[in-house]
């Protein structure tokens, strides 16, 4: 078991024939992801990476029954691509592109919600169910199959966390990068209950950062609904106020969104909070018992 995606998930790629889209789609196919085609306007009818190309998402779904779309279109076209996917009936859009305007994401997410489509990202590494399905840009080889679910705002901290978990002798069920933009799709509070319900997931790693209050909301939910052990790290304890730290959403505004308040809230909810990401693996070994 796993959450959201597995080896049978049928995936299309929006922005399939572009440089980024091509490179990463190829890597995903090599990993075993069931990519059934792609969409690039005016290239419908062509074949790319041995898969059919369609002009629209609607045509792609009609021909392939795809349920998930991996989006690589340039930033200015992300909003449009997400809304097209939503209306065509895609169930989950994984938005990799970095630098989409915030206003576009407000509109696109509202429209996706209206049409019952889930979104991940933008500006995220994607989602991977270990040894089954990779939809995104993460290095597949570090994700060994196992019993730990991982959810993170940061791409490289996802790799760091997963790598440590695997080095301790455990592995990953599904790892999800939710992105660090001001407006994102699925977040802790939608994904944590999925891990709770997944019989194979025995512990959860949650990686957050400064800015916004998603981690505070997560603390509340964990206290009420999550019985599996959670290990958390919040990046940015040493970040100065009022400065955007790489991710557009990673900013301490006045006194709000600090790492300290998030760590305290999570600790109060019974989460094992580590002060350094170097401790994630050890903390998982502690909560699951040494292998």
């Amino acid at each position: 078991m796993s959450i959201l995606v597995n080896k049978d998930t049928k995936v299309i790629v929006q922005g399939f024939t572009g440089k980024e889209g091509s490179f990463h789609a190829e890597q995903c196919i090599a990993y075993g992801t069931n990519i059934v085609g792609g969409v690039t306007p005016n290239k419908g009818g062509q074949v790319h990476l041995d898969k059919p190309v369609f002009n629209t998402v609607a045509e792609a779904i009609k021909a392939t029954d795809a349920t998930v779309s991996m989006i690589f279109v340039p930033p200015a076209f992300v909003g449009d691509a997400v809304m097209e996917a939503a209306e065509a009936g895609i169930e989950l859009a994984v938005i990799i592109t970095e630098g989409a305007p915030v206003k576009d994401m407000q509109m696109a997410k509202a429209h996706a919600t209206k049409h019952g489509m889930k979104t991940l990202g933008p500006n995220c590494p994607g989602i991977i169910t270990a040894e089954e399905c990779k939809i995104g840009i993460m290095p597949g080889s570090i994700f060994k199959k196992g019993n730990v679910g991982l959810i993170s705002k940061s791409g490289t901290l996802t790799y760091e966390g997963a790598n440590q978990v695997c080095n301790e002798g455990f592995g990953i069920t599904t790892a999800i990068g939710i992105g660090g933009d001001p407006i994102i799709g699925l977040s802790y509070n939608q994904i944590l209950p999925m891990f709770e319900a997944d019989p194979e997931t025995e512990a959860i790693v949650m990686i957050g950062e400064i800015g916004g209050d998603l981690e505070i909301q997560a603390a509340k939910l964990i206290k009420e609904q999550i019985t599996k052990p959670v290990v958390a790290f919040i990046a940015g304890q040493t970040a100065p106020k009022g400065k955007t730290m790489g991710h557009a959403g990673a900013i301490v505004s006045g006194s709000a969104g600090t790492a300290k308040e998030k760590m305290e809230a999570l600790e109060a909810a019974g989460v094992k909070v580590v002060v350094s990401p170097a401790e994630i693996g050890k903390a998982i070994a502690e909560v699951l018992g040494k292998k």
Partner: protein
């Protein structure tokens, strides 16, 4: 991206948001000419820097004669202004805004920001104008009115009524005026991809009209591509020169005041690296995300920027290669040490894609002050020790 008050007011005027008349100047002589042109009898001389709290810092002053305009312009132009929003070193005032005095009956507060929880713009208003809104929120939260506006329907009259009644306005003309004001402000917020607009104070005049006495605007960097006229308002002298230089090479850099320079891929891991150094008893000198397309040139540039800071006693390179291949980074480091004179210990931790090859490359290069870290914890510990001279 932030802009100056005088630039924000140019945009306000375009949208019919009332502001006092004013002229931006860069010399004392022009300040007097501007004041003559405006006519008086009262002027406000305002320092133009990208930070709030200018009044308290002595950067905003009232002049009642042309002579006074001259004296104040001379005093403020070239001063280094320290406010609660600047660094301790403050900001050099290079531009002034000479503005007509306003008829002030009441000072209010009005802003539009993105509410990340509701995922839509939020209009905030308060009767407590002229104060730091964070203090108002902390001490008297009941005095802040918040009205979210769903972009799908846009600003409606009821949004305006909520504001008007929330501010305790009972006069029908005043209600109409504030509704019209807020409606225009929302329109310009949306049309220009603003991140925030803050008017503090918003002035109610004796005639019951509303005027933006101040204006602060920030924009979504990701949307600047479709607003060239706003992108052109960028004032690079207001930004940190090293951050600007780094950005040219796709590096995201923020200076801190510690001793250990950091070069990391990914924003989250970059912050996590700073936190780990701190946890192990060291102090990070900077945040630096080399991004996903790091190569020899960007790595070299990173070293150059880090080493400009004389406080740096060691550099910790922490890369978890995903798409970025570690062997390329290793070669980049070797190239960088050839181009730049790296005179402090460099601790390198490379993990992920092609890490074993990278370790081999670094070992064979025989660089004198290069130390290999086995993992994040080990690398950070070695960097902290090296910075202490151990």
């Amino acid at each position: 991206m932030n802009i100056h008050e005088y630039q924000a007011k140019q945009i306000f005027k375009k949208y019919g948001v009332p502001t006092p008349k004013g002229i931006m100047v860069e010399s004392v002589k022009d300040a007097v000419t501007a004041a003559e042109q405006l006519g008086g009898p009262v002027w406000v001389v305002k320092a133009q820097i990208h930070a709030g709290g200018r009044g308290l810092g002595g950067g905003v002053k009232l002049a009642k004669s042309l002579e006074e305009v001259e004296t104040l312009a001379d005093e403020i132009l070239g001063m280094t202004l320290v406010t609660h929003q600047t660094t301790a070193e403050g900001k050099l005032v290079q531009k002034l805004y000479i503005e007509d005095g306003a008829d002030i009956k009441e000072e209010l507060y009005l802003s539009v920001v993105l509410d990340r929880k509701l995922e839509m713009p939020l209009i905030m208003a308060s009767t407590e104008g002229g104060m730091n809104i964070e203090d108002v929120a902390a001490n008297t939260p009941e005095k802040i009115i918040t009205v979210p506006v769903d972009p799908a329907i846009g600003f409606q009259s009821f949004h305006g009524r909520e504001l008007a009644f929330g501010l305790g306005l009972t006069d029908k003309d005043e209600q109409k005026n504030i509704i019209r004001f807020a409606s225009k402000l929302y329109k310009l917020y949306m049309e220009n991809d603003a991140e925030m607009i803050e008017i503090n104070p918003l002035v109610k005049t004796g005639k019951g009209e509303f005027i933006a006495l101040d204006g602060k605007m920030g924009f979504d960097n990701s949307a600047l591509g479709r607003h060239p006229e706003i992108a052109a308002m960028r004032d690079l002298t207001e930004e940190d020169a090293d951050e600007v230089e780094a950005a040219k090479y796709g590096l995201s850099y923020v200076a801190l005041d510690g001793e250990i320079g950091c070069m990391v891929n990914g924003a989250g891991l970059a912050m996590g690296t700073m936190d780990t150094i701190n946890y192990m008893g060291g102090t990070p000198a900077n945040f630096l995300d080399v991004g996903g397309s790091a190569n020899a040139e960007t790595v070299a540039k990173g070293f150059e920027i880090i080493l400009k800071n004389p406080k740096v006693k060691a550099i910790f390179v922490n890369i978890f290669g995903g798409i970025v291949r570690c062997d390329r980074i290793a070669n980049g480091i070797i190239e960088a040490t050839k181009i730049t004179d790296v005179n402090v210990p460099v601790i390198v931790r490379l993990d992920g894609t092609n890490a074993p090859e990278a370790a081999e490359i670094l070992k064979n290069a025989n660089i004198a002050n290069l130390i290999v870290g086995d993992d994040l914890g080990d690398g950070a510990a070695k960097a902290v020790a090296a910075a202490k001279g151990e």
